[in-house]
């Protein structure tokens, strides 16, 4: 009889501990799940905002100036100088509002205080837009 009482008491003690641990586990699981979802959302939002701010930084740091335009039988040349503090890379060239594919350039990366030219087919005329990431320069040929 005495052994039975001891067993019943031990069993009740274990069930209280188990219920508390279960409750803790449920709480941690709920909070962890919510946290994971929110952290994922925060990370993706952070990546988009970071890329936006990097574009803005690039736009602020790449300052372009048209030095000259030249045209001869071998091509039309546009000389551009970067007087900013950030490096710029040509991402697109638009001629008369359309993407131009027949261009070449000496500037893979146009570093600060450097000059480069964009070469276009001979006798190219119209409005030219050279895009360096978020910064553009418009030239009338």
């Amino acid at each position: 009889m005495g052994a039975l009482i001891v067993l019943r008491r031990r069993s009740r003690g274990v069930s209280e501990v188990v219920s508390s641990v279960t409750m803790l586990a449920i709480t941690v699981a709920v909070l962890g799940g919510v946290g994971l979802i929110s952290i994922g959302s925060l990370r993706s939002a952070n990546a988009v905002l970071l890329s936006g701010s990097q574009n803005a930084e690039n736009e602020a740091g790449v300052l372009l100036s048209l030095v000259s335009t030249q045209g001869n039988s071998s091509g039309t040349y546009v000389w551009i100088f970067n007087y900013g503090w950030a490096e710029g890379r040509i991402t697109s060239v638009y001629l008369n509002g359309g993407i131009e594919s027949g261009w070449k350039s000496t500037c893979g990366a146009l570093r600060p205080e450097q000059l480069c030219f964009v070469e276009l087919p001979p006798a190219t005329t119209g409005s030219l837009v050279v895009e360096f990431g978020a910064r553009t320069i418009s030239i009338s040929l």
Binding site: L42, N55, G97, G98, G126
Partner: protein, 205 residues
């Protein structure tokens, strides 16, 4: 005595449950206010590509894969038809091209050559040309100042308004996606442009 202990254990468990639930709710509300799950954040970049029709290229980045549903330009919506800009305002029609206006829409193609026959100026995916080799997916066509036109897709299909291969929403790329690109004619005075997604919207200009 045993009954009293049993009741107190039950009450203690109830208190623990209520504390756990309250804490979970508080944390969820707090986190949800800072960063609601499944809420997109958008980042836009606008490039004025110049030219006689004053097109702008708008690059849109979304933090989560999203499906655009409609473009709202001023008082007009791509849900009403093919959007066009006449230099003053946006409106919609059921024609792929119009005289004295610039229409812009997208077509779904397989890989091949898209050809546009018109008596105006044509852009395909931003390239000023009457034909362009493209990959499979949605591609944007802009037609300016053209009274007559036909858009021929790879495989010989002719795109017509209302057909499954024409979408009045002018976007390049597949959906859902996290990056989108569009070319839109704009005027001198700014007109609000708004891209509506499933569950959110992005003010793109």
């Amino acid at each position: 005595m045993t009954k009293s202990k049993g009741v107190s254990s039950f009450v203690a468990t109830l208190i623990l449950v209520s504390i756990a639930l309250s804490l979970s709710y508080l944390v969820y509300e707090g986190v949800n206010t800072i960063a609601p799950p499944q809420q997109e954040v958008f980042s836009n970049q606008t490039v004025d590509v110049g030219g006689p029709q004053n097109l702008v290229r708008i690059d849109i980045n979304s933090s989560l894969p999203a499906t655009p549903l409609a473009l709202l330009a001023g008082d007009s919506s791509s849900e009403s038809g093919i959007l066009f800009f006449n230099g003053q305002r946006y409106d919609s029609s059921q024609n792929l091209c119009l005289q004295n206006a610039t229409t812009f829409f997208s077509v779904r193609t397989s890989a091949g050559t898209v050809r546009v026959a018109s008596n105006g100026t044509t852009w395909i995916d931003g390239v000023r040309s009457n034909s362009l080799d493209v990959g499979a997916g949605w591609h944007e066509v802009v037609i300016s100042d053209s009274s007559t036109c036909s858009v021929n897709l790879p495989g010989g299909t002719q795109a017509v308004y209302g057909g499954p291969e024409v979408r009045s929403l002018p976007l390049i790329g597949n959906t859902p996606s996290t990056t989108f690109e569009t070319y839109i004619p704009i005027g001198v005075s700014p007109i609000p442009l708004l891209l509506a997604f499933d569950g959110s919207f992005d003010r793109i200009a």
